[in-house]
C-alpha cells in the first residue's frame, strides 16, 4: 500500500529522479555562480590584507602564500590586465583575444579527443554487453586503468609528433594531444555505458527475450534508451577529463597554440607581469565548465529518457 505519508517521502536510491526544481532554474544557477565568484574574489582580497606579504612558514614548509602584488595581484588588476595588449610590441593583441583563441584551440582538440574516446567507449561497452567473456576479461583492466595514473604517459606519446608516417599521413603534434584527451574520456564513458546497458531490470530483459527479440533490437529499443541516465553524466565527465588531458598534454608536449601552453608561458613571465597567469588559469577553469556545459546540451532533446539521473 502506498499511503500519502509514505508517497510524500520517497526513498532515495540511485538513480535519483531529477526534480523539476533542479532542471528549471538555470537563472538561479548562474546567480549562484556569480555569487561564488564574488565570494572567492572577496576571500582573495581578504587573504591579501590579513596574511603578511612574505607568507607564513611552519618549520620548513610554507603553509601560507606570499601575498605581495607579485604573487597575488589584486582582482581588479587581473581583470584589467585581460583587456590590455599581451606584450608591449605594437599591434600585439589583447590578453583576452590571445586567451580566447588559445581556448578555442584547446577546446577543438579536446572535443575531437572526446568524440573519438566516447565512440570507442560506447563500442567497447556494447562489445562487453554482447559477450560475457569480453566483459570478464576487460572489466578488471578498465577499472584498474581508472585507478592508475596513465596520464603519466603524456610526455611519451608526445614524442610521436612528426615521427610517424603512414603513406601520406603524418602524425601531427596536436594529434598526440587529442589522443591523450580521448584516452581520458574513454574510460568514464565505457564504464557509464556498460552500467547503463546493464541497467534494465530482469523483467524488461525477459520481456524482450520472450518476444524473441534479437540482440540488436534489444539493444536499440531497450538497453540504449535505458542507458541515457547513466550515459549523460559519463559523457559530461568525459568532456571535463578530456579538457584536463588536453591541457596536461599541451604542457608536457610544449604544443603551441593552446591554453595549457599559454599558462606556462605566462607563468614564466610572472615576475614582471603577475596578473597574466591568473587570467589564463581562470580561462582554463571556464573552459572546463564550457566543455561540460556543451555536452550537457546533448541532454536537452532527451528529456523523456531522463526520468532519473545518476549523480
Amino acid at each position: 500500500m502506498t499511503d500519502l505519508a509514505t508517497t510524500l517521502a520517497p526513498e532515495r536510491t540511485a538513480p535519483v529522479p531529477v526534480r523539476p526544481r533542479e532542471r528549471s532554474t538555470v537563472g538561479r544557477r548562474i546567480l549562484v555562480g556569480v555569487l561564488a565568484v564574488l565570494l572567492l574574489a572577496a576571500l582573495w582580497e581578504l587573504v591579501k590584507v590579513v596574511v603578511p606579504d612574505g607568507g607564513g612558514h611552519l618549520g620548513e614548509a610554507s603553509v601560507l602564500p606570499r601575498t605581495d602584488d607579485l604573487a597575488m595581484p589584486h582582482v581588479w588588476d587581473i581583470v584589467d590586465r585581460v583587456l590590455q595588449p599581451e606584450t608591449s610590441a605594437t599591434g600585439s593583441p589583447t590578453v583576452l583575444s590571445a586567451m580566447l583563441s588559445a581556448c578555442w584551440f584547446t577546446l577543438r582538440v579536446a572535443l575531437a579527443g572526446w568524440l573519438v574516446g566516447s565512440i570507442g567507449g560506447l563500442l567497447l561497452a556494447a562489445l562487453m554487453q554482447r559477450w560475457q567473456l569480453a566483459e570478464s576479461a576487460l572489466v578488471p583492466w578498465v577499472v584498474l586503468s581508472q585507478t592508475v595514473p596513465l596520464i603519466a604517459l603524456a610526455p611519451l606519446v608526445v614524442g610521436w609528433g612528426g615521427r610517424i608516417h603512414v603513406g601520406t599521413f603524418e602524425w601531427q603534434r596536436w594529434m598526440s594531444v587529442a589522443l591523450i584527451a580521448s584516452y581520458l574520456a574513454f574510460f568514464p564513458v565505457t564504464i557509464g555505458a556498460l552500467r547503463g546497458f546493464q541497467s534494465p531490470p530482469a523483467a524488461q530483459v525477459e520481456l524482450f527475450r520472450a518476444q524473441a527479440a534479437s540482440w540488436n533490437r534489444t539493444m536499440l529499443s531497450l538497453r540504449l534508451p535505458a542507458s541515457v541516465p547513466y550515459l549523460l553524466p559519463a559523457l559530461r565527465l568525459g568532456a571535463a577529463t578530456a579538457v584536463v588531458g588536453a591541457i596536461v598534454a599541451e604542457v608536457s608536449t610544449g604544443t603551441k597554440g593552446g591554453i595549457g601552453r599559454l599558462i606556462i608561458s605566462y607563468a614564466q613571465s610572472a615576475s614582471g607581469d603577475p596578473a597574466k597567469p591568473w587570467a589564463a588559469i581562470a580561462a582554463a577553469a571556464l573552459l572546463g565548465l564550457v566543455a561540460a556545459g556543451l555536452v550537457s546540451l546533448l541532454g536537452l532533446g532527451l528529456g523523456r529518457y531522463r526520468y532519473a539521473e545518476v549523480r
Binding site: 500500500m1 502506498t2 499511503d3 500519502l4 505519508a5 509514505t6 510524500l8
Partner: protein, 263 residues
C-alpha cells in the same frame, strides 16, 4: 483511561498540485488493552492516522490524545512502541543491538539492556540469532526483531503499520498467532493497520473500516471471537462470519449470492 482518543481529527497534505485531504472527521476511542485493526483500501488514510497517533505527523484539525496526553507528550514519555511495514533495522547493528536501540537511546544500563534483549529475543523465538546481522535473516525474522524492538520498553500501546505486509502467507499466519500470544502476555493496547481482512479479524477485538477520498471511518465491526485464539479459529464458522461482516462493511453492500463476486 483510554489509550487513544480522537475527536474530529483531520489531516490535509499541501503539495504543489494542491491540497489533499487525507483524513476527515475521525472519531475513535481505543480502550486500554484493546486490539483495534484499521482496514481500508489504499489511500484511505489508515497509515496517516497511525502516524498522527505516533506524533510522526501533526493533525490539521481536531483533538487527539494518547493516555490523556498530547501525542507529543506521549511520544516523549515513550508510552508506545512502533513497528512499520519495513522492519527498519539498522544494518550495521547486530540483532541484539537493534533490539537494545530504544533502551540505549533512553539511557538504560548495559547489563539491563542485555537482559531485556535476551528476554525479548526468546519471546519472538530468535535466541539463536542474537549475534547475527539483519541481512543474514529472512524477512519474517527481521520483522520479528522489529516487533521485539517495539516491545523493548514494555509500552502500554503498540502501533503497527502493516508489519506483516511484505511476508508470505504462511509466515504471516504464524506471526499473527505469535502476535496474539505476545499481546496477551504484555496486556498492551494495539492499533494495527492492515489491508488483509482475515488478518484484521483474526487479531482484533474491533475492526475499524475506512474509506478513501477523503479518509473517513465508514464502519466499526466488533469481533467477538474470545481472547484465546489458536490456529483452529481460522477454520471456524464464527471466523468466516466475522470476515464476511468486515467484507460487507468494506464494500458498502451485502455480498449477494454464493460464488458471485460483484467487485
Amino acid at each position: 483511561m483510554s489509550a487513544v482518543e480522537a475527536r474530529g481529527v483531520g489531516k490535509v497534505f499541501s503539495s504543489r498540485s494542491g491540497d489533499v485531504v487525507a483524513l476527515e472527521g475521525i472519531d475513535l476511542t481505543v480502550a486500554a488493552g484493546e486490539f483495534v485493526a484499521l482496514i481500508g483500501p489504499s489511500g484511505c488514510g489508515k497509515s496517516t492516522l497511525l502516524r498522527l497517533i505516533a506524533d510522526l505527523d501533526a493533525p490539521t484539525t481536531g483533538e487527539l490524545t494518547v493516555f490523556g496526553k498530547t501525542p507529543q507528550q506521549a511520544r516523549e514519555a515513550q508510552d508506545y512502541g512502533i513497528a512499520f511495514q519495513q522492519a527498519g533495522l539498522l544494518p550495521w547493528r547486530t540483532v541484539t543491538a537493534n533490539v537494545e536501540l530504544p533502551l540505549e537511546l533512553h539511557g538504560v544500563g548495559k547489563a539491563e539492556r542485555a537482559g531485556r534483549a535476551r528476554e525479548l529475543l526468546s519471546l519472538v523465538g530468535l535466541d539463536d540469532f542474537a549475534g547475527h546481522f539483519p541481512h543474514q535473516l529472512s524477512g519474517g525474522m527481521q520483522q520479528r526483531v522489529a516487533i521485539a524492538r517495539s516491545l523493548a520498553e514494555r509500552p502500554s500501546l503498540l502501533l503497527m503499520d502493516e508489519p506483516f505486509g511484505a511476508l508470505d502467507e504462511m509466515t504471516r499466519e504464524r506471526m499473527q498467532t505469535e502476535l496474539v500470544r505476545i499481546c496477551a502476555e504484555s496486556g498492551a493496547a494495539v492499533v494495527f493497520v492492515t489491508h488483509s481482512i482475515p488478518e484484521a479479524v483474526f487479531l482484533s477485538q474491533r475492526v475499524v473500516v475506512m474509506s478513501p477520498r477523503p479518509g473517513r471511518i465508514s464502519a466499526v465491526v466488533p469481533v467477538n471471537l474470545g481472547d484465546v485464539r489458536g490456529e483452529g479459529l481460522r477454520e471456524d464458522a464464527s471466523f468466516f462470519a466475522a470476515v464476511t461482516a468486515v467484507r460487507e462493511a468494506l464494500h458498502g453492500t451485502p455480498v449477494t449470492a454464493r460464488g458471485v463476486d460483484l467487485r
